[in-house]
Amino acid sequence: MAAPAPPALPDLTRVTRVDEVGVTERAARFQARSVKKASKVAALRTVLSMIDLTTLEGQDTPGKVRQLCRKALHLHDALPGLPHVAAVCVYPTMVAVARRALAGTDVKVASVATAFPAGMSPLEVKLADTRRAVEAGADEVDMVISRGEFLRGEYGYVFDEIAAVKEVCGAAHLKVILETGELGSLDRVRQASVLAMHAGADFIKTSTGKIQPAATMPVVLVMLQAILDHYRETGRRVGMKPAGGISNAKLAIHYLVMLHETLGPPWMTPGLFRFGASSLANDVLMQLQKEATGRYQSPDYFSRD
């Protein structure tokens, strides 16, 4: 097999334009889909398996992270046969704790890195941050791009930064956070998506969760369409991770409908789609319990970790 060509900065002026009105209309159509009965249960279970259970706070402690890992493996044992979540997402200092707690399981350890969330540190600091996370056992790295450099047109800087982080990641999967709430337009979202994918992103991700607006359906649709075009051009399937603001099951199902009708079944797997969320899981569990028993239970029946 020939060695893969080194990544090259694409010409962002040639990236397909985006019409915000059209995108918003299309996104609303997904929300008009009615998902009931068996298709709803299948969707809810799929959503659970795609969650990156996340804690990214200054007050995080090993105890808190261990609780979260426990939840990742035992979502709601009163309902037998549930999938576990895809990953637990923590700060680099908590990776080792999570790694130990999840040892011997399929749940991945994801770590934010590169001076999350602002990314306002020198490249060598970001690379060191990434290296530490990977060495501590992170399977996946969620990096942030330098939005300031991107907005002032230093695309080469952002491209090289992603490529350098990707190299440090080695076998770890790289998710590139565009922080779409700071990019200002859907054209910019599309350009940043193209840039990140060409630089080697395994996933593109909307947000840190620290900036509003975070994930919205129009933004995610634009990113999914960029992923599809990248697949058509290169044959490589890049994953998608909306994060921030997806806190209830109904909205998560709308995202799944959008994924289904935009990228189709090959992407409907935790390997290529994730929800970055902290409170989504319990609402999904409540809905699943309701589908099983016909009644809603008090939120107190579901563990808050």
């Binding site: 397909t16 985006v18 019409d19 068996a38 189709g264 090959p266 409907m268």
Partner: protein, 504 residues
């Protein structure tokens, strides 16, 4: 009307969707989500609505209206004869000379407003009935047809007592009795388009709905009776072409408003020549949807889909010709095919259905005839691969590519979910092709460049031209055609004039 119960389907052999690498038909799918029909009672028989009440036809004629999604009858509907037309026109005249003509405009406005309000209150019932009788997906009847119909009544209610301001320095007066003949593609919405301005301007009306879709117009007649409009202000006469012909020819009619095919429109013009009757005609179309290489392509694809597959393509202003710039043609067509594969064709009452049933066996035959013509002309055919229901009238979304300006599928209106795709190199070539048609109802332009939008929208000779969108309707916007797409405008301030005399 053709009432064949042969279960015809358009799946003659074609180059069907090849092994789709994304296999939308596999894996997760949506469970059926049918809208309930419990709250919609369809009566076994419907009479004629004349002089404020339902009556039997003079000659006892009747026809069946079918559910096109099953091919089975929904109801038996009285068919109006010449004698019934005379009765209805007399009732309308009486109301015009009587209570309606004497009513203060401000009072008239309240009635028109009330119709819109009641339509909103009973929106679900009307949406379900529209989908049952016409085959259109409930998502469209619920989100487009019924709300827009109500919006037309609200909008024109506002004009009723302000007509002098619409035509400053003139003295607007109603014409008298309006004969209105409407098509089967938007039965309720077309009734609203016609009734709202006519009533707001102080006219009385005899309305003839299409023979395949009379039920919502008859339900609207019930609503109008419930709204306490004086008897005879609105009369509804179901029937086929003969009823319509008798109505427009009746000497007691002052004004004719027709929406339908160009052939019938031509006949009406002949029949009305030399009479003092005023008329407006809204006829066929073969609109070009022009996509430039600098357009937002993913959204343009949505617009193309909305332009041709909305309401199964039974839309006079459908974007039935796609003109795409050569540099992006392959990409656009590939995206389009992919998008077509995600369209859900089936039960019109299912909330997830994107494309419903073809309105009638006769229309399905017409569409299939054009599918044959396209193949004979050497077009490359693509049809998405959805499974179709076993009974009823259905047609898969279809593309014709590799077609020429001289092909019949490029020149003639098909009125189905069939898109003809051509390419162009320069804006001038796009304009020439877009305008090279006897029709001129609508058009679309897709580009990121403002200057190009203005150049193209000025150049396309059509009544409505959309930029970076398609099939957007609003009661405040005039609608109508150039050339053989008709004459006169409906909607907006322009839509008042055809129902008024402005002299003296």
């Amino acid at each position: 009307m053709a009432r064949s119960d042969t279960r015809t389907r358009s799946d003659t052999p074609t180059r069907r969707a090849p092994a789709n690498p994304l296999a939308f038909q596999e894996g997760w799918s949506y469970a059926p989500a049918p809208e309930s029909t419990d709250h919609v009672a369809v009566r076994e028989r419907y009479g004629l609505f004349i002089g404020g009440d339902f009556t039997d036809p003079a000659q006892g004629g009747a026809f069946q209206t079918l559910n096109p999604a099953t091919g089975r009858p929904l109801a038996t509907v009285a068919e109006a004869s010449e004698e019934d037309v005379a009765r209805a026109v007399a009732a309308a005249r009486k109301a015009f000379k009587g209570p309606w003509g004497r009513m203060k405009p401000r009072e008239r406005a309240k009635y028109v407003y009330r119709i819109g309000r009641m339509l909103q209150e009973r929106a679900r019932e009307f949406a379900v009935l529209e989908s049952l009788d016409g085959g259109k997906p409930i998502r469209e009847s619920r989100d487009v047809d019924v709300p827009l119909a109500a919006a037309h009544f609200f909008y024109y209610a506002g004009w009723a007592d302000k007509l002098e301001y619409a035509f400053p320095g003139r003295t607007p007066r109603p014409l008298g009795v309006a004969a209105q003949v409407i098509p089967w593609n938007f039965p309720l919405l077309m009734a609203a388009w016609k009734l709202a301005p006519a009533l707001a301007c102080g006219n009385t009306v005899v309305l003839k709905p299409a023979e395949t879709t009379p039920l919502t117009a008859l339900r609207l007649a019930e609503l109008i009776r419930d709204a306490d409009l004086p008897p005879g202000v609105v009369n509804v006469l179901p029937g086929a072409g003969a009823t319509g012909a008798a109505l427009v020819r009746h000497p007691g009619v002052d004004k004719v408003a027709f929406t339908g095919s160009t052939a019938v429109g031509r006949g009406i013009m002949k029949a009305l020549a030399g009479t003092p009757k005023r008329y407006t005609l809204e006829l066929g179309g073969k609109a070009a949807n022009v996509v430039f290489e600098d357009a937002a392509l993913d959204q343009a694809v949505e617009g193309i889909v909305n332009g041709i597959f909305f309401n199964q393509g039974h839309v006079c202003c459908a974007g039935s010709r796609l003109l795409v710039q050569e540099g992006v043609a392959d990409e656009v067509v590939e995206k389009l095919k992919r998008r077509m594969d995600t369209l859900i064709v089936g039960d019109p009452l299912d909330k997830n259905t994107d494309i419903g049933a073809i309105n009638s066996a006769a229309q399905l035959e017409t569409i299939e005839r054009y599918l044959r013509i396209g193949r004979e002309e050497g077009a490359e055919v693509y049809q998405s691969g959805q499974p179709l229901p076993g009974e009823g009238y259905w047609c898969r979304p279809t593309l014709f590519s590799g077609v020429s300006q001289s092909d019949r599928v490029v020149q003639e209106e098909i009125f189905g979910p069939v898109l003809a795709i051509q390419t162009f190199r320069t804006p001038d070539e796009a304009l020439e092709k877009a305008n090279n048609t006897p029709y001129g109802l609508s058009g679309g332009v897709w580009t990121d460049k403002g200057a190009k939008v203005f150049r193209m929208t000025r150049g396309i000779r059509a009544g409505v031209v959309w930029a970076n969108t398609f099939n957007k309707f609003d009661p405040t916007a005039p609608f109508g055609g150039y050339k053989e797409s008709g004459m006169g405008r409906e909607g907006g301030l322009h839509g008042l004039a055809p129902y008024l005399t402005l002299e003296g």
